[in-house]
């Protein structure tokens, strides 16, 4: 008796059509419109943006529509329209974001050097060359002002979010409305409020902590609402499980609900920081500016990256504007480092465990 070799099925993806005709249709539909639009731009002298919007987009819609019709029949046409529009708008947003980032990197890169990041601004005039001085003092100032603000806002904001989800307090509706109202507050008003309440009245001169104070109402709504949303996503079953074991509510919250919402709360804090780290207006009237390095947030003007950028752009000299671009790039890098670090610290436990195992 001979055992015949049985052909084992091979991995396949039959839903991906691969016959020659449909391949050809797909290739034509995706290359011809781009080809025509490129030709119009290069040879017929049509402006690039006009060519993309008025030549590429309609042609692409028609081509993919026809391709959809040939491949799938009538139901393929709306599919095709949706796909083209999604890709087009997605690409559009992507191009926008990348071009903003790129313009900062391109313009700021020339100014960037270890000395620019770590030195302060003493002995620098608007026309001093880029080889002297830097934004080190503003980096420290931004970290101090935003850090102090975060220190104050996070307990307040998280507590507000907890109040909104974990209690049956009667003023929850009012607080939500108030938070929305504060979220719409122009940031310059927050700065002027602190200015008129504490500086004009002589309580304090310009100081870092006044800036932190002005940032609190800007940061609070974001932290509170995002915390609320992330706590709301924790299943009720988990709270019941903890309470059913005889836990007092505060222990159930600290040991079960809050850990389950941890990454959401971290996101809330990050979004809050992101909301204020680039704020300029409220700081101009509170922290003012400085050229020297200072870590005293309670006395004297303090430089921050946004106000530094504002001041150096206002000066209008070539080198001062280059310094402003450099500072913008430093601010971008700083935000990137802060967010990366926060994500790393708050990553899920299971991932940490896995990493450890791999090391072993």
């Amino acid at each position: 008796m001979s055992v015949e070799a049985v052909a084992r099925p091979k991995f396949a993806e039959p839903w991906k059509k691969t016959n020659q005709r449909s391949k050809l249709i797909q290739i034509i539909a995706s290359t011809v419109p781009i080809g025509i639009a490129t030709a119009a731009w290069l040879f017929a002298g049509v402006d690039l943006i006009v060519s993309v919007l008025l030549v590429l987009l309609p042609l692409q819609l028609i081509a993919v529509g026809i391709a959809g019709f040939l491949l799938k029949g009538r139901r393929g046409v709306p599919d095709a329209a949706l796909i083209v529009m999604t890709y087009f708008l997605g690409t559009f947003v992507m191009v926008l974001l990348v071009s903003v980032l790129w313009s900062v990197v391109e313009a700021g890169f020339a100014a960037l050097s270890p000395q620019f990041i770590f030195q302060n601004n003493v002995y620098v005039t608007p026309t001093t060359g880029l080889e002297i001085g830097g934004v080190g003092h503003a980096v420290i100032g931004t970290l101090l002002v935003v850090g102090l603000s975060t220190l104050v806002t996070v307990p307040l904001g998280v507590a507000t979010g907890v109040y909104l989800t974990e209690t049956r307090g009667k003023s929850r509706g009012v607080i939500r409305v108030l938070l929305q109202a504060i979220a719409g507050l122009p940031s310059v008003v927050a700065g002027l409020f602190v200015y008129s309440m504490l500086i004009v009245t002589g309580v304090s001169a310009y100081a870092g902590w006044l800036g932190s104070l002005a940032l609190v109402p800007l940061m609070l709504p974001t932290v509170a609402r995002v915390t609320e949303e992330s706590l709301r996503l924790v299943p009720q079953e988990l709270r019941n499980g903890a309470l059913g074991l005889g836990a007092p509510s505060w222990r159930a919250f600290l040991m079960v609900t809050l850990p389950a919402a941890k990454s959401g709360v971290v996101t809330a804090i990050l979004l809050g920081v992101a909301r204020v780290i680039g704020e300029t207006a409220p700081l101009l009237t509170t922290t003012f500016a400085a050229n020297n390095t200072s870590i005293n947030v309670f006395d004297g003007g303090l430089a921050t990256l946004p106000t530094y950028i504002y001041n150096y752009v206002s000066l209008g000299f070539d080198t001062s504007i280059q310094r402003a671009w450099g500072a913008a790039l430093v601010l971008l890098i700083l935000v990137g480092i802060l967010f990366g670090a926060a994500r790393y610290v708050s990553r899920p436990k299971s991932l940490k465990a896995k990493k450890k195992k791999e090391k072993r």
Binding site: N240, A242, L243, G244, L245, G246, R251, A353
Partner: protein
């Protein structure tokens, strides 16, 4: 023949959600070291009733209640009674397995002690014992530090039972503990229930007639007419309720004619 002791007793329980009354004059006595099953069609208030027995009911906004629940003779709804002390003595296993996702298997087992501030009672023996009583030890002994969510649904539910057992409750309430599980897991949980009743009083809500007959000593049949509050139609020995029910509606239900 010994006379049954009643560790837990519900007297004239009426329950509302807002204006709507969902339970009317329910009085049941739960004999010690026996299993009592609550059966009845969906929406008749069984789950609501079982939640009144350890004061989980009041966690629902708009909940209302009249009547009393006596645990060893003391009304758990008396003003001076702290609900969390009631829940320490009357444990609960929920319909959907709800292990704590941020904790490992071991941490889940001892979570009740941590949550009630009794850390000094935590020991490896307790973990092993609780998992053994929930017939989970063999499957989990080599992976105690893995996340609880890496377990299958049936294992998660037995972990939740182990979590309750670690608290050494006097009464265990189970709200359809097997409704999301496969037949194998269901059988193992039923075996666990039969072992557990040696040491505690058990109340179980179930939609499964065979399950009630397999595990329960006593059975209560709940019913609610359209938009009317639910009530107990019949309460007695399981054999009698299924074998020769007094009420014709019970007969119809246990034989699958409605519900």
């Amino acid at each position: 023949m010994t006379i049954d002791q009643f560790q837990l007793e519900a007297k004239d329980i009426n329950v509302w959600f807002g204006e709507r009354q969902v339970l009317k004059d329910v009085s049941l006595q739960f004999p010690s070291n026996k299993v009592t099953a609550l059966i009845g069609p969906s929406g008749c208030g069984k789950s609501t009733f079982i939640r009144t027995l350890n004061r989980m009911h009041e966690l629902i906004p708009s909940a209302g209640l009249a009547g009393s629940v006596l645990l060893d003779g003391q009304d758990i709804y008396e003003e001076a009674v702290d609900p969390s002390t009631v829940r320490l003595r009357v444990g609960m296993v929920f319909q959907k397995p709800n292990p704590f996702p941020t904790m490992s298997i071991k941490e889940n087992v001892i979570s009740g002690l941590k949550l009630s501030g009794r850390k000094n009672e935590i020991s490896d023996d307790l973990v092993e014992n609780s998992l053994k009583r929930a017939s989970m030890w063999n499957e989990s002994k080599d992976r105690l530090d893995e996340p609880a969510l890496s377990l299958s649904g049936g294992q998660q539910q037995r972990l939740c039972i182990a979590r309750s057992l670690a608290m050494n409750p006097e009464v265990l309430l189970m709200d359809e503990p097997c409704s999301a599980l496969d037949p194998g897991s269901t059988r193992r949980i039923e075996e666990t229930i039969l072992e557990l009743k040696e040491s505690m009083t058990i109340v179980i809500v179930t939609h499964n007639m065979q399950q009630a007959q397999r595990v329960a000593d006593k059975t209560a049949f709940f019913l609610a007419e359209d938009n009317q509050p639910g009530y107990v139609v019949e309460f007695g020995e399981t054999q009698q309720v299924f074998g020769m029910p007094v009420d014709p509606r019970t007969n119809d239900y246990v034989n699958g004619h409605f519900g």
